[in-house]
Subunit: 353 residues, 2 copies
Amino acid sequence: MTSPGGRPTLAVVGATGAVGTVLLSLLSARKDIWGEIRLSASRRSAGKFLSVRGQRSEVRLLEGSVLDGADVVVFDVPPAVSAQWAPIAAARGAVAVDNSSAFRLDPDVPLVVPEVNAGDVADRPRGIVSSPNCTTLAMIVPLAALHREFGLRELVVSGYLAASGEGQAGIAALHDQLAKVALQPGLGGIAGGVRRAAGDSLGPFPAPLAMNVVPWSGTARAGGWTSEELAVRDEARKILGLPGLRVSVTCVRVPVVTAHSLSVHAVFDREITQDRAQQVLSGAPGVVLYDDPAEGEFPTPADVVGTDPTWVGRVRRSLDDPHALDLFVCGDNLRKGAALNTLQLAELVAAAL
Amino acid sequence: MTSPGGRPTLAVVGATGAVGTVLLSLLSARKDIWGEIRLSASRRSAGKFLSVRGQRSEVRLLEGSVLDGADVVVFDVPPAVSAQWAPIAAARGAVAVDNSSAFRLDPDVPLVVPEVNAGDVADRPRGIVSSPNCTTLAMIVPLAALHREFGLRELVVSGYLAASGEGQAGIAALHDQLAKVALQPGLGGIAGGVRRAAGDSLGPFPAPLAMNVVPWSGTARAGGWTSEELAVRDEARKILGLPGLRVSVTCVRVPVVTAHSLSVHAVFDREITQDRAQQVLSGAPGVVLYDDPAEGEFPTPADVVGTDPTWVGRVRRSLDDPHALDLFVCGDNLRKGAALNTLQLAELVAAAL
């Protein structure tokens, strides 16, 4: 199935979205292991030309012929599209690597983060490998490193989630709103001022995001939880192999374009110290410890956007519980949180073909 | 000491600051219990005229004569000014109500939130009553109501703190930065783009705040904590009378002008349910339960700014611990978080003179 020279064929479905765009730039920047690369998208974008590895490539309508002969098919599309097309790709002999929520909790689909559970990628009864939610990915690499050393028991997580978690529509809505409110200094001090100014620019958000924060992400679930909050709990348990892990998540959207941040309170089986935690984190692949507040060193979304690792700062041992650690993590939700992890999975799969 | 007609004399020190400005508007709007109201400020602002209760009043330089004959003196000034002048006011026979950090943890100074521990205001050996930090005040009223019912044991708190927590300088810096970055849509997707654009407009913040979040508030303390994070822990313990309360706080500044939000994970001695928690909160004075996400009802800073209560939404019982509750609280940091609580304390003191 591989192209001449033995290099595998990759198909990218959803090449024109917020995540697909980053995926193409990563394909151009990373070690090139691929033979043919095919690009595909919905009817709205088919026929466009995009650049990948320095070559213009036509975006093809998603249909069976796009998948024929592909070794790996990456899906960066809504869950309904993945649910329909990933099994078709697998049936045609490709391995599907899916970045949607469609298969993340399917017991016959591995949910993989290469720095954490790379080995799981090989056990894929349905021919599908799944990449986690961007919020899970914002924290899971450093937490897995700490878990290996101290034994993770409980997580309390509060999110500072970027607008691009809602794709191009989220980015556009934030920019529209900022343009309307940013030059009206009085608005932020008046009840409802920002809401009136934002007007019909809410986009995919349930409340104005510019000069505001919105404690909601996903759809409503029982008990007052959101789908994204439950997803982080379920996915963290699955990736870490800890079905009994206690997890409470609160997802809050902030007026940041790209890069998710999380405030994490983690409780471990074994006692932990600030020094030992910092040592473990500074040696963990995929993690950058950036933690010297006296020198102004802590991660912020504006500084880590466009980078690959998970950045960790504000590492503190709880004053009241020697088993608990508080930390602040930050990562690009379109890169490690989506396109990068998906591409790493495609590379893992391809290396073992 | 009271003015003709028996109504007490109030002096407001720091009348021209971000908090003082709100205090004057509250004095004009609330039930008028005061005789004379004197305004005072530093040399920079002395001689200005401000409106209070519909009358123009000259701002006087802070000196002994401003305090003479005052029954209550409210201080909305930096801690060093309070530390010097509140004892002078008390020595001259007034009760000092201080909104700075100078006396909050002094065992001889009560730290009071009227809805929580109003009775403590009467026990003031130094003649000084202290009002808590704005972050403590963003959560303490609903948490005290839950504590009375379920017995509070532990708090894990992540802050979404507004720029005006750093006063007029914070508001100005955020507006300067927004004006520079908001109309450049590409910046938020480029590493360091926002930082370069914000340039020298950092103001009181250690990193750009526009299109960013900054996980730092206060000054550096041992173990990686900040002064504000430790203050919330110490103050919550003192106000609730729970010296052993376990508290972990992470303070993060967000690009919101006014109104602090907090994501709170609270663990109780007794089992709790979502329904019972909502019942308790909806009956608590000073609290508005706004918690019907399916109808788009949850508090956001843009919607609660300019209002008096603490707003509570996203009330959820932990899925993994029947003793734990997650909630999102939101309140105006210049009103209940500062000016309103201070004025409530002044009114409490005056009522018992």
